[in-house]
């Protein structure tokens, strides 16, 4: 008798209300998966016909967690159209604020969202580290939960100081920034940064950043864990120990296609050097198969809407040529998501901190990809240790702002001419692009591809699944009523489908 296949919906109640994952399970193993974005956002339609600068105010509302990143993508697209060269201080100020947002997002995702699943009693009450996981990550009360909220709350004060307004700061504009922080404010940023850095090294890494960066292979990671109790007890150490015993080093295997748009343009005069020599950005844009990294060719980016509830085009198209018109009918057959299927050179590609680490040729992650490939553990390890790669350069740029505070922060841009420009950056969750066309002084087309559109895409015209649809296949689910393993896989991509409705609901 052939084994029975069951179709189940994976509840992601603590991830995203607007995401449904449907899977086929045979003999306790996921054999197929479908990712359904259930909400039409419509930002592209909102933008059409508006003034060129409106994207600076509207698109940051796409996301409540990474609104600054959307602001930056919108500003960069307009910088390109206006063909303006930014002053070094504007670049430094934008970079410092973006780094603060990225780092807070990484740590909140890791501790408040991801590791919260380690307290799942039904799944892990027999795990040798379960009691300690509860002490650390219990919702609202865990020691690490409270500490991460306290520390990240302080870190994002840097954005408030730089932007002069919080939330919904709009300090990035074509040509640079609108706010010039005075020296005492920059010194305040430096103080916040120093305290955060000291806490990150002590509690999250359990060692100095220099010591962590000396971990370059899977074998050295094991040696680092054994080296000192501080390493084992740190958030990174505890995560690795728990995750290995829970089997996260074997689940969530992707197809090892990685996409990174790169981020943090380098000022002309700076002590910060790019991760890969020759790049004009700190982090490296590109596409990789395994660890075979290639330069990014933006012309290879296409959107496919075969399985999406949008007006169909005969072929996948570049974002400049894309349209986003919702169309749903009961007779369409294939569509099952409000998310399009972006593809790079015809391939589905995962994006996020791991893709960034691969493109930046970080030795530890290159070795892990060679040893195990992308797994839930590797993706999550890349995320929680990304601040170790960003913090030193963030400190350098704050110091350079202090040293050069009298220099310009803005290059005047009188009008935005007609033209096309793309703001392609690496957001906390991965590759983010805003493709903007201005005609007759109005926005005639505005296309946004978010990191979650890459990671959570549905199938395309070739019926190739999206990255986390692929990653779910082969995942063993011990209890169909409590499919925590599938949650580990999806959350390792840090999905962000919603960020829109925050109504206070009476749950009684």
């Amino acid at each position: 008798m052939s084994p029975e296949t069951k179709k189940i919906n994976i509840p992601l109640n603590r991830a995203e209300g607007d995401l449904e994952i449907k899977v086929d399970v045979t003999d306790g193993i996921i054999t197929d998966a479908w990712s359904c974005g259930t909400m039409y956002r419509g930002f592209e339609a909102m933008m059409t016909g508006r003034g060129p600068l409106d994207g600076l105010v509207i698109t940051p509302r796409i996301c409540g967690i990474c609104s600054l990143t959307h602001l930056n993508a919108a500003a960069v697209a307009l910088d390109r159209i206006a063909q303006v060269t930014l002053p070094d201080n504007a670049i430094r100020l934008r970079n410092v604020a973006l780094m603060a947002e990225t780092i807070q997002s990484d740590l909140r995702q890791a501790v408040l969202m991801y590791m919260a699943d380690f307290t799942n009693h039904k799944a892990y009450h027999r795990h040798v580290l379960f009691k300690e996981a509860v002490a650390r990550y219990q919702i609202l009360a865990g020691s690490s939960v409270v500490e991460v909220i306290r520390k990240t709350k302080r870190l994002i004060e840097i954005i408030a100081i730089i932007g002069g307004q919080w939330p919904h700061t709009s300090f990035m504009v074509p040509g640079g920034v609108t706010s010039i922080p005075y020296v005492p404010k920059l010194m305040q940023c430096r103080l916040i940064f120093d305290r955060f850095l000291a806490w990150y090294e002590k509690k999250v890494l359990g060692c100095s950043i220099a010591r962590w960066q000396a971990v370059t292979t899977k074998k050295e990671l094991a040696q680092w864990l054994e080296e000192r109790p501080e390493h084992r007890d740190s958030e990174v150490g505890f995560f690795v120990r728990f995750a290995q015993k829970a089997g996260l080093d074997f689940c969530g295997r992707g197809d090892d296609h990685f996409l990174c748009f790169g981020n943090f343009p380098l000022p002309k005069e700076t002590a910060v050097t790019p991760r890969v020599p020759g790049a004009g950005l700190l982090t490296t844009p590109g596409f990789a198969r395994g660890t075979d990294c290639r330069a990014l060719d933006a012309a290879n980016i296409k959107e496919d809407s075969t399985c999406s509830w949008f007006e169909q085009k005969p072929a996948a198209s570049h974002p400049y040529d894309s349209i986003t018109r919702p169309y749903a009918s009961g007779n369409m057959g294939k569509p099952y998501s409000w998310v399009k299927a972006p593809r790079y050179d015809g391939l589905a590609a995962e994006t996020g901190p791991l893709a960034e680490a691969v493109m930046d040729r970080v030795p530890l992650f290159q070795d892990l990809i060679k040893e195990t490939g992308a797994t839930a553990l590797v993706r999550q390890l890349a995320r929680i240790t990304r601040p170790a790669r960003l913090l030193p350069d963030m400190g350098t740029w704050i110091d350079e702002l202090l040293a050069h505070h009298a220099d310009p922060f803005y290059t005047p841009v009188k009008t935005i001419p007609d033209g096309q420009g793309a703001g392609m950056i690496q957001a906390a969750r991965g590759a983010l692009g805003h493709w903007v066309t201005i005609e007759n002084s109005k926005i005639s087309n505005y296309q946004v591809i978010t990191p979650t559109a890459w990671n959570g895409s549905p199938r395309d015209g070739q019926m190739q699944p999206g990255p986390w649809e692929t990653a779910l296949k082969g995942t063993r689910v011990k209890d169909l009523q409590n499919p925590v393993e599938a949650g580990h896989v999806i959350r390792s991509f840090d999905p962000c489908m919603v960020c829109a409705v925050h109504i206070v609901k009476n749950e009684k």
Partner: protein
């Protein structure tokens, strides 16, 4: 120390734009001294900094299941927490999570009082005006001296 009126929601989402609509009305009114009017948007946990060093905090937000559609309701912070007993952190974490975590992470004294001016369902301009007035009244009754 200041009083805070924090209007929550997304002005781009029909079911969530009541808070920003009240914010727009409040922008046209005289705000009491020592009171900050904040467009809180969808910032969630990132609003914590506005709750520190505050005397009275008045949130204005869309609600669901508290009163009849089209009506305004005034709730205390305790009533909000009682109605949402198990708030969790996610990308749509709202006031309930903020209030639950506040005592554990607040730097300095907690606010003396927290209120929510809730707006249920689609409201007409009269109800939105009433919500704006209610937020102002709460801060006027509790001036910072």
């Amino acid at each position: 120390m200041k009083n805070k009126i924090i209007c929550i929601g997304s002005r781009l989402v029909e079911t969530d734009k009541a808070g920003p609509a009240v914010y727009d009305r409040l922008c046209r009114k005289k705000i009491p001294a020592q009171t900050d009017l904040v467009e809180g948007g969808i910032a969630g946990l990132n609003l914590l900094c506005h709750l520190e060093q505050a005397k009275i905090v008045v949130f204005v937000d869309a609600v669901s299941g508290f009163t009849r559609p089209g009506q305004m309701i005034l709730l205390t912070g305790q009533q909000v927490q009682a109605a949402c007993p198990k708030p969790v952190y996610d990308h749509s974490a709202g006031i309930a999570y903020l209030l639950a975590v506040l005592p554990r992470v607040c730097h300095g004294p907690l606010p003396e009082d927290i209120f929510l001016v809730g707006i249920e369902g689609r409201c007409d301009s009269i109800t939105l005006d009433r919500a704006a007035d209610a937020a102002l009244t709460l801060t006027r009754k509790n001036p910072v001296v």
